[in-house]
C-alpha cells in the first residue's frame, strides 16, 4: 500500500512539475477579467464606506466588472493598507483610503510598508471638510463658548474621535494646539460610533463630515460650531480659520490607491473609469444625496499633492508631539 502511495504521489508530482514549467509565461488578457476588490481600512458606516458604496454601484458600467467593497478596519487603518500592500500588483486590489492614513501615519509609527514608495494613486474621488459638532441640547452655542468652557476645565470636555491619528483626531489635535486647550480624547471604532457617542451624551463634542452629518442636521439633533476650508459652508457657522485655527486643517481627501508596481495601462484604464464617474448623472445625484462633492483628480495630479502632504504632516507631527 505504501509503495503504491509513493508511486502515485511521485507521478502526480511529475505532472505538477511539468505544469509549473509550462506556466512560466504570463498571460495577457483583457483587464479586468474578474471583479475588483476595493479594500477600505476603516469601519462600517463611516463616510468612507458610504462613498465607496456609491462608487462601486456605478462604476461597474465603466469597467464591465463588479467592484466589491471589503471593510478591513484595524490598527488605525494599517490592517487594510497592509493587505493591499501585500497583494498582487495587478489592479484587482485597490485601496480606498484618505490622506491621514496615507501620508501622515508614516510619521507617527513605523509601518511595515512605505506609503510613498509602495502605493501610487489611481484617482482622488472627492474631498470633505470636517465640521465641529455638538449635540443640539449642548450648552455651547458658538465655537468661542466651547473653547471658553474647555479652558475652564482642562480635560473636562470629552471629544469622540475615530481612532488615533485619524480624520477626526488630527483636526482635534490641531485645534487643541492652536488654541491651547485640552480636550479628553476618547477613541471609537469609526465616525459612526463617534457620532453615536455624541448623540447619546457620552461625548461633548465630535467632528463629522457632511455625509454623516446631513441626517442629524436635518433632524435638528446636532449643531455645527465651525467648519474647515477657506469659505463658510453654512451661513452662520464660522470657518476654523476665522476662529483662530489656521492652516491646512480638516480636509480629508478620499483617494484610491494601488500597489506601486501595477502596470501603467491598468492604472490608466482604472483612472479613466473613475473620471467617467464625474460625468455620470446618477453618480453625481447619489453623491449629492450623501451631501458629498465630486472632484475627481487623476493619479499624477494627486501624486504631487501627496508629496506636499508628506512634508506638511511631518512638520505637523513634530509640532504636536514635541512636548
Amino acid at each position: 500500500m505504501l509503495r503504491k502511495t509513493i508511486k502515485m504521489t511521485s507521478s502526480v508530482m511529475v505532472a505538477a512539475g511539468m505544469a509549473l514549467g509550462l506556466s512560466s509565461g504570463i498571460a495577457h488578457a483583457e483587464f479586468p477579467e474578474k471583479p475588483i476588490t476595493m479594500v477600505i481600512p476603516l469601519g462600517a458606516g463611516g463616510s468612507h464606506d458610504l462613498n465607496a458604496r456609491v462608487v462601486t454601484s456605478i462604476i461597474p458600467s465603466y469597467i464591465n466588472q463588479a467592484m466589491i467593497v471589503r471593510l478591513t478596519p484595524g490598527a488605525g487603518g494599517q490592517k487594510g493598507t497592509q493587505e493591499v500592500a501585500n497583494s498582487a500588483a495587478d489592479g484587482y486590489t485597490l485601496l480606498f483610503t484618505h490622506n491621514y492614513i496615507d501620508m501622515l501615519q508614516q510619521h507617527v509609527e513605523t509601518l511595515p510598508y512605505d506609503p510613498g514608495a509602495d502605493f501610487k494613486p489611481v484617482a482622488r474621488i472627492n474631498y470633505a471638510p470636517i465640521a465641529v459638532v455638538v449635540n443640539a441640547d449642548s450648552p455651547y452655542q458658538t465655537f468661542e463658548e466651547l473653547i471658553a468652557a474647555s479652558k475652564e476645565k482642562p480635560g473636562g470636555i470629552q471629544m469622540a474621535h475615530s481612532g488615533n491619528w485619524g480624520a477626526l483626531f488630527v483636526p482635534a489635535a490641531q485645534v487643541m494646539k492652536a488654541l491651547d486647550v485640552s480636550w479628553n480624547l476618547v477613541p471609537y471604532q469609526g465616525g459612526g460610533p463617534a457620532m453615536q457617542a455624541l448623540l447619546s451624551g457620552d461625548a461633548d463634542v465630535t467632528m463629522g463630515f457632511p455625509s454623516a452629518l446631513a441626517p442629524q442636521l436635518a433632524a435638528g439633533k446636532v449643531r455645527v460650531l465651525a467648519t474647515a476650508g477657506a469659505e463658510r459652508i453654512y451661513e452662520d457657522v464660522p470657518t476654523l480659520a476665522e476662529v483662530g485655527v489656521e492652516g491646512d486643517v480638516g480636509f480629508m481627501h478620499r483617494v484610491v490607491l494601488t500597489p506601486a508596481d501595477t502596470p501603467d495601462e491598468v492604472v490608466e484604464q482604472l483612472t479613466g473609469a473613475f473620471k467617467a464617474l464625474a460625468e455620470d448623472k446618477t453618480f453625481v445625484r447619489m453623491m449629492g444625496r450623501l451631501g458629498e462633492n465630486v472632484d475627481i483628480l487623476d493619479g499624477p495630479t494627486y501624486e504631487a499633492m501627496r508629496k506636499e502632504q508628506s512634508v506638511a504632516y511631518k512638520d505637523l507631527v513634530e509640532k504636536l508631539t514635541s512636548q
Binding site: P35, A44, G45, D49, L50, R53, V54, T56, S57, P60, A66, I68, V69, R70, L71, G74, A75, G76, Q78, K79, Q82, E83, N86, S87, E109, P112, G155, G156, Q158, N164, N184, L185, V186, P187, Y188, Q189, G192, P193, M195, Q196, A197, L199, S200, G201, D202, A214, P215, Q216, A218, A219, K221, M286, R289, L290
Partner: protein, 493 residues
Amino acid sequence: MIEQFIEGFGLALRVDTFVMMGLGLFGGMLVGALPGFTTLMAMAILLPISFFLDPIVGIPFLLGIYKGGIFGGSIPAILVSMPGTGAAVATSIDGYKLTQKGKSRKALDMALFSSVLGDMSSDIFTMMMIFPIAYLVMQFGPPELFAVLLMSLVIIAATSGSNPMRALIMMLLGIWLSFIGTDPLGGVERFTFGLFELKSGIPLLPMLIGVFAIPEVASVVMRNEKARHLAGLMGERLTWAEFKKTLRTICRSTVIGTGIGTIPGLGQVVAAMMGYSAAKNASDHPETFGEGELEGVAAAEAANNAVNGPTMVPLLTLGIPGDNVTAILLGAFVAQGLRPGPQLFDEQGATVFAILIAMVFANLMFLAIGYLSIPFFSRLVTIKVSVLIPLVIMFAFAGAYVFRSDSVDLLMLVGFGIFGIVARAAKFDVMPMVMGFILGEPMEYAFGQTVAMANGDLAGFFLGDRQGALAVLLVIPAIGFLLWRRMRKTIAH
C-alpha cells in the same frame, strides 16, 4: 405610525418581493454553508443588483441572503463540526454530537425551527417597539459593553460543566491569542516577534476550522473509522413532541438574544453562548448538554437569530450601522434614496415598515425552503468516509484561504488543527478558548474607552455616571460562583 404600518403591510404584499426574498434565502443558505465564503461577501457582491430593484424588493432580497446565510452557517457546524462563524460554534457543540448519533436531520430541523421562531419573534418585537429600543440603545456605551462582555466570559466559563478551571485556563489562553498583532487602541505591536505575518493578528476562521473541524476529521482518520456505522442513518425528522419540549428554551433564548441585540457591540456570538449557557443552567440534566442534546441546538440558534431584530434599530433610527451587515444595508438604503436617520420614519415610514414586514414573511418562507432542503444536506454526511474526508478537507482549506487571501492562514489552519488534537488528548476544551479569543479584543477596547472617558477617575466615573455598568460588574463574581455551584450540584446527581 399605525397608518404607516398598515400602508406598509399593503406595500409588502407583492409577488416580486416574495420571489426575490426566496431566491435570497436559498442562495444565502448555500453560501452560508461554505465556511470562509461569507454571506457578507455575497451581500456585498449582490448589493449593486439591489439598486436596480424597488427598495421593497431589493432590500428584502439582501436581508434574505443574510438570514439564509445565518442558518446556512449552522449546516456544516452540525454535520461536520465546522463552524464558519463564532455564533455557529455554540450550535456545533451539540449539533455535531447529534450527527454522530445518527440524528443529523433532527439537529438540522431543530436549528431551522428555533432560528425561524427566534428571528420572527425578535422582528415582530422590534417593529412594535422601535422607539423604546432606540432609547435603550442610547443608554449603552463602552462601560456597559465592557461589563456585559466580562460577565459573558465568566458565565461561559462557569457553565462549561466538568472542569471550570481548565475552561478558564483555555479562555485566558484565547484572550491572550487575541492580543497577538496590534493593540486595538494604540496600534502598537504585541507578541508579533517581529513577524510581518502576525501584525494583523490571528485570523478567526482558520482558527475555528482548525480547532473544531480538523481534530474531528483527524480523530476519524486516526482511529480508521472506515465503517462509519452511522452511514445511511441520517435519522428521522424532528417530532412534534421533541419540539414542544424545547419551546420554553426557545422562548428564553429569544428574550436573551433580543436583549443582547439591543446592546451595540455584543452580537450573535455572545447571544448564542448566553442562550446556550442559560439553557444548560436551567435544565435539570445539564450533563446531557454537549453530548447531543437537542435543547442545546435550540437554545443557541434561537438566541443568535433573535439578535437581528434590534440590530436594525440604530441603523433605522440613527443612520448608524452597528456592524458590516447593517453597513451594507445602509448602502442599499442610501442608494435607493432612503436616508436612514431620525427622519426616516417621518418621511418614509410606510416603506420602512414594508421592509420590516417583509422580513417577518421571509422567516415563514424560510421555514418551507429550509425544511425542503434539509434532507439533501443531512444526506451529505452519509457518503462514504473515504470520499467525505477528502472533500471536507478541501472545503476547509479553500475556505481558510478565501477568508483573507493569505496563504499563511493555511499554515495557521494546520497549526490550530494540531493544537486542537493536543488539547483534546489533554482534555482541555477548546470552546472557551475560542470564546476568549473572539470576545477578548472588544473587551479590551471597551475597557480602554471607559478609562479614557473616566479621565483618570475610574471609581468616581462608575459611581457617578455609570451605575448600571458598575452594578453588572459587582454582580459578576456572585453570578459566576452561583452558576458554578449549581452546575456541580446537578452534575453530581
